[in-house]
Amino acid sequence: MHILEIARHILAALCLLGGASLVLAGASGVVRLPDFYTRLHAAGVTDTLGTLLVLLGLILLSGLTLLSAKLALVGLFLFLTSPASTHAIANAAHKAGLKPRLGTWRSEPEAKEDKGA
């Protein structure tokens, strides 16, 4: 029983830290990527797996209580609304005539960030 408790806390810690680093990676992508449509994808990383892992870690910490049901509800709601709002932003930009940059793009390690913008 004691071993199980320790394992639960370790798993929760792994989920929390993994999810938070995914959120951080997505945020750095939103800053680094070159144009609007590519930034959408970086925000998508935060919305899906980052959210899922952080909430899963909190659910593991709280155990089988009303609080974990509420956390699952938050997760379900984000899971249903985040694609809708991402699509709404993308569709609004597309309808307004914002053109995506297609073709191959590569960043040089020391190049200026707004080189091709």
Binding site: L22, A25, Y37, T38, R106, S107
Partner: protein
């Protein structure tokens, strides 16, 4: 027809009551429980008055298939996440953005919504617009625009919304 409507109303009522219980956390006070039940009934009445009490509002008979579809979608999301995170975090980013058109297999509106939402939920692909039976998709990398992947997702969405009987 009347029986079907009652089924939608009843399943929506159960969902609303469960939502009230989870959000409030009161199980013992009779007054509060009856007030919660009353508000659930009122919500269902409002849905009936808005004429939205149909299979899109409370798709209870499609729920079992969703529970088969969601784990598959979760695996796809995790796979795409790994690819996108590796691309974003590499010191020299090599991106190959593409705009592609994806044929939708589902015929009904909700089936198309399911497919477009699944495409958006998978990182690296975002559905930008819908043009009759084609979805315009922006992809971060050209590896993510394989036709077979989209076709399989479309097949599974059509199956989940009950337009097809078998997955493959």
């Amino acid at each position: 027809m009347f029986g079907e409507g009652m089924g939608y109303a009843f399943s929506l009522l159960i969902a609303m009551a469960l939502l009230w219980l989870v959000l409030s956390g009161h199980y013992d006070s009779t007054l509060l429980l009856s007030l919660g039940g009353g508000s659930a009934v009122f919500a269902v009445f409002l849905a009936w008055r808005l004429h939205i009490l149909d299979d899109e509002t409370s798709p209870y008979h499609k729920l079992p298939r969703f529970f088969i579809y969601w784990p598959w979608l979760l695996v796809e999301v995790i796979k795409a996440n790994i690819i996108v995170v590796r691309t974003i975090l590499s010191p020299v980013m090599v991106l190959t953005p593409r705009m592609v058109r994806v044929k939708t297999l589902p015929g009904t509106d909700m089936g198309k919504v399911l497919l477009a939402n699944s495409i958006t939920l998978t990182p690296g692909t975002v559905s930008v617009d819908i043009d009759r039976d084609e979805i315009i998709v922006h992809a971060l990398l050209k590896e993510l625009t394989a036709k077979e992947g989209f076709a399989e997702m479309a097949r599974r969405c059509a199956w989940t919304w009950g337009e097809k009987e078998e997955v493959s």
